[in-house]
C-alpha cells in the first residue's frame, strides 16, 4: 500500500509542475488564440535565470526564485510587445511561426551564454521528509514536497486573482470576447502584457521548483511544453481548472504507468487516455471561457 501512495506522491509532484506550465499556456491562449510554442523556452529561461542568480549573484534559493519569476515575466512581456502585439491583425499562422522562431531564438541564446552543458541548482533542503518515512513508510524528498506546496499556493493565488480582482476579470473578459471587451473600454494592450507576465512568471516558478531534482540544459523546455500542450487540449483550451486537472491527470498517469506497467508503455497509456477523453468530450474536460 505504501508503494501505491508513493506513486500518488510522485504523480502529484510531476502534475504540479505540468499544471503550472500549462496554466501559463492556457492563459496566453485566451489572448493569442494560438498555443504559444515559445512557452517552453520561458520555462528554460526561468531555470537559467535562477541558476545565474544563485551562482553569479550568490542569491539563496527563494531570492533566486523571485528573481527568475521577474526576469522571465520581463522576457514574456517583451515577446508580447515586440512580436505578438504586432501580429495581432495578421492570420493566426503568423503568430504560430513567430512563436516557433522565438522558441529557437531563446534556446540558442541560452546555449550561446551557458553552453550545452548540464547545470544543477542545488536543493535548498536536501534529504527526505523523515516524518513521512517513519509514520507512513513513504520516501518523500523535501524538494518534492516544496513543489506540491508551491504549486497549490500559486494556483489558489491565481484563482483569487482571476475571480476577485478587476484586473483578473478583464483577463477573463478578454479571453471570452476580444471585441466585446474592447467595446466596454478594456485596454487590450495592458491586459495582454499582464497575461504574458503572469504566464512567464508561472513558467519560471515551475522551473525553479523543479530543477533541484532535475537538470538545467538549453533543451529542457521541450519535454515539458509537449506535455503542457497535451494537458491544455485535455483540459480544454483556455480553461484554468482544465489545465490544473489535466496536469494532475497526466502526472498521475505517468507515475502509475511507469510503476505498474513499464516506462515503455507509459506514453502509450497517457496518449490513449487523451484519445479516449477527447472522443468522449471533444471540447476537453472543461470547455474554457475562451469559447
Amino acid at each position: 500500500m505504501s508503494l501505491f501512495f508513493q506513486q500518488v506522491l510522485n504523480g502529484l509532484t510531476l502534475g504540479s509542475v505540468y499544471s503550472l506550465v500549462a496554466l501559463g499556456l492556457t492563459l496566453v491562449y485566451g489572448i493569442l488564440h494560438i498555443p504559444n510554442f515559445s512557452h517552453g523556452a520561458l520555462f528554460m529561461a526561468g531555470a537559467y535565470a535562477a541558476f545565474f542568480a544563485s551562482t553569479a549573484l550568490g542569491a539563496n534559493y527563494w531570492v533566486a526564485l523571485v528573481f527568475a519569476a521577474v526576469v522571465t515575466a520581463g522576457i514574456a512581456v517583451l515577446s508580447e510587445r515586440l512580436v505578438f502585439s504586432r501580429l495581432r491583425d495578421k492570420p493566426p499562422l503568423h503568430d504560430m511561426i513567430a512563436a516557433i522562431g522565438l522558441l529557437l531564438l531563446i534556446e540558442a541564446i541560452a546555449q550561446a551564454i551557458w553552453g550545452a552543458d548540464f547545470h544543477r541548482l542545488r536543493e535548498p533542503y536536501p534529504g527526505i521528509w523523515q516524518w513521512l518515512r517513519i509514520n507512513a513508510g513513504l520516501v518523500m524528498p523535501i524538494q518534492r514536497g516544496i513543489i506540491i506546496a508551491g504549486a497549490v499556493v500559486l494556483m489558489i493565488a491565481l484563482h483569487l486573482f482571476l475571480t476577485r480582482t478587476t484586473t483578473g476579470a478583464t483577463i477573463i473578459a478578454m479571453a471570452q470576447n476580444r471585441e466585446g471587451a474592447s467595446l466596454v473600454g478594456i485596454d487590450l494592450t495592458r491586459v495582454s502584457m499582464i497575461t504574458f507576465a503572469i504566464s512567464g512568471a508561472l513558467a519560471a516558478v515551475a522551473a525553479v521548483l523543479f530543477v533541484p531534482i532535475s537538470l538545467i540544459f538549453p533543451a529542457m523546455g521541450n519535454l515539458v511544453i509537449l506535455k503542457a500542450f497535451v494537458i491544455i487540449i485535455l483540459g480544454g483550451m483556455g480553461s484554468v481548472p482544465g489545465a490544473i486537472l489535466g496536469g494532475m491527470v497526466i502526472g498521475l498517469v505517468e507515475s502509475f504507468g511507469a510503476f505498474y506497467v513499464s516506462t515503455d508503455m507509459k506514453d502509450v497509456i497517457a496518449f490513449a487516455a487523451l484519445v479516449l477523453i477527447l472522443s468522449l468530450r471533444p471540447e476537453g474536460l472543461f470547455p474554457g471561457y475562451a469559447r
Partner: protein, 391 residues
C-alpha cells in the same frame, strides 16, 4: 590609350592574383575532415565533446606544419555539421560534407547516424569514423567503417564479476530505452543469468521523453535488487543513481560506458553515492603513459577536464592523418583504412591517449580496456582482463 593602360593594369593585377593564390596553394593544401553529430538539443554537450577531440588534433597537426602526404604538406580542416542526433540528418550532412568539401572521412558520434551513412558510404567512397561501441557497427560487412572505441562486449564479464562478488546475485535493470542502451541490456541480461544471478526487475528509463525517473526507479527498487544496471548520458544517469539511493538502495551499480563516473560525481557532488559503482575509467584517472600528457595539454587548451569522447576522437584523427601520410592519399578511403593499424602503432603515446593498439580487418579497434570501481569514495582502476582491482 586609356583603354590600353587599363588593360595592362588589369593584366598585372590578374597575374599577381594568380601568383599569390598559386603560392598559397603550393604551401598548404587542405584536407577537410567531416563531422556530423548533435550540437543542439539534449545531446549537444556530448556532440561538442567529440568534436573538440577532432579539433584539438587538427590544431596540433597544423601548428606543427601540417602532415606530409605525397610529399606535400597538408593542413587539416575539421567541418562539423549539426544533425540534432537524427540519423536522417546525419545522412544528409554526410552527403553535403562529401559533395561540398570532398571529405574523405566523416566522423559521427552516434550509432543511428553511422548506420544511416553505411547505406551509401561505399558508393560515395568515404570512410566512416564511427564513435560508437555497438558491436554490430563492424559486423554488417561495411568495407569503409572504422569503429573508434572498442566493442562494449568486453565490459560485461568484469562488470559482473566485481559487482556480483561484492553485493549479491539479484540484478535490477534500470538502463535506458535508446538503441544503444537496449543493445547493452541485451548482452547484460543473459550474461548475468549465466553467471548464476537472477534478474529481479526490468524497467528502462526514457531519457528523451521523461521529465522525472522517480516512478521508474521505484518500480525497479520494488524487486529488492543487490546490483543496479544503469546508464545513458552521464547527467540523467546521475539522477537515477541519486533517486535509487534516496529510495534506500544500498547495493552496487554497473554503469554502461556511455556514462562517465567523473561526470556523474560532478552532478552528485562527490563519489559518496557512487560507492560500489563499476564503470569505465575516466580519462583523467587513467594512470598510463600518454593519457596524462594528453590530459595536461587538453586542460591547457580548453581549461577543463577531457572525457573519453575527446580522447578517442583526438587519437582517431591523429591516426587518420598518419594513415593518409602512410597511404600517400587524401581521397582513397580504402587505402587510408588499410593503413590505420600501422598508423596507430607509429603514434607516440601522447598522441594516442585512447591506447588503441590495432584496427582489425572489419574496421573495429582493439583497445586495452580500462575500468574503474568506486571504493571508499575513490576511483580504483580495474584490470579488465581479470576483473581484479589494481591497487
Amino acid at each position: 590609350m586609356i583603354g590600353t593602360r587599363r588593360n595592362i593594369l588589369a593584366g598585372t593585377a590578374a597575374a599577381a592574383l594568380v601568383a599569390t593564390t598559386r603560392g598559397a596553394f603550393a604551401q598548404q593544401e587542405t584536407v577537410t575532415i567531416g563531422w556530423t553529430g548533435p550540437l543542439s538539443g539534449g545531446a549537444a554537450l556530448y556532440g561538442k565533446n567529440t568534436l573538440t577531440g577532432l579539433e584539438m588534433s587538427a590544431k596540433e597537426i597544423n601548428d606543427s606544419g601540417g602532415v606530409q602526404i605525397g610529399g606535400k604538406p597538408h593542413k587539416i580542416a575539421v567541418v562539423g555539421l549539426d544533425d540534432k542526433y537524427s540519423p536522417s540528418e546525419a545522412a544528409v550532412n554526410a552527403k553535403r560534407l562529401r559533395a561540398q568539401y570532398k571529405a574523405p572521412v566523416v566522423f559521427c558520434p552516434h550509432s543511428g547516424g553511422n548506420f544511416a551513412m553505411q547505406a551509401f558510404n561505399e558508393q560515395d567512397g568515404f570512410l566512416i569514423g564511427a564513435y560508437t561501441s555497438v558491436p554490430q557497427m563492424t559486423e554488417r560487412g561495411n568495407k569503409l567503417t572504422f569503429r573508434i572505441p572498442p566493442s562494449f562486449a568486453g565490459y560485461i564479464d568484469p562488470f559482473i564479476k566485481t559487482t556480483m562478488g561484492s553485493f549479491g546475485k539479484k540484478l535490477g535493470m534500470a538502463g535506458a530505452d535508446h538503441d544503444y542502451a537496449k543493445a547493452w541490456a541485451a548482452l547484460m541480461k543473459p550474461a548475468w543469468t549465466k553467471a548464476g544471478g537472477t534478474v529481479v526487475a526490468e524497467n528502462a528509463m526514457s531519457y528523451n521523453k521523461d521529465t522525472d525517473f522517480y516512478s521508474g526507479v521505484s518500480r525497479v527498487m520494488a524487486g529488492n535488487p543487490d546490483v543496479l544496471f544503469v546508464g545513458g548520458a552521464s547527467e540523467p544517469t546521475a539522477l537515477v543513481i541519486k533517486q535509487a539511493r534516496e529510495l534506500g538502495f544500498q547495493g552496487g551499480f554497473m554503469i554502461m560506458d556511455q556514462a562517465k563516473l567523473d561526470e556523474i560525481a560532478h552532478v552528485l557532488g562527490g563519489y559518496q553515492q557512487l560507492e560500489g559503482a563499476m564503470g569505465v575509467l575516466p580519462t583523467v584517472f587513467d594512470p598510463r603513459p600518454g593519457t596524462q600528457e594528453f590530459v595536461g595539454r587538453f586542460r591547457k587548451a580548453y581549461n577543463r577536464d577531457p572525457g573519453s569522447e575527446a580522447a578517442y576522437n583526438y587519437a582517431a584523427l591523429n591516426a587518420v592523418s598518419e594513415a593518409m601520410k602512410l597511404a600517400g592519399t587524401t581521397s582513397d578511403a580504402a587505402k587510408i583504412l588499410a593503413k590505420l593499424t600501422e598508423a596507430f602503432k607509429s603514434l607516440p603515446p601522447g598522441r594516442n591517449p585512447a591506447h588503441i593498439t590495432e584496427v582489425d580487418e572489419r574496421g573495429g579497434s582493439n583497445v586495452r580496456l580500462s575500468l574503474a570501481y568506486v571504493k571508499g569514495g575513490k576511483i580504483v582502476p580495474v584490470d579488465a582482463a581479470t576483473g581484479n582491482l589494481m591497487n
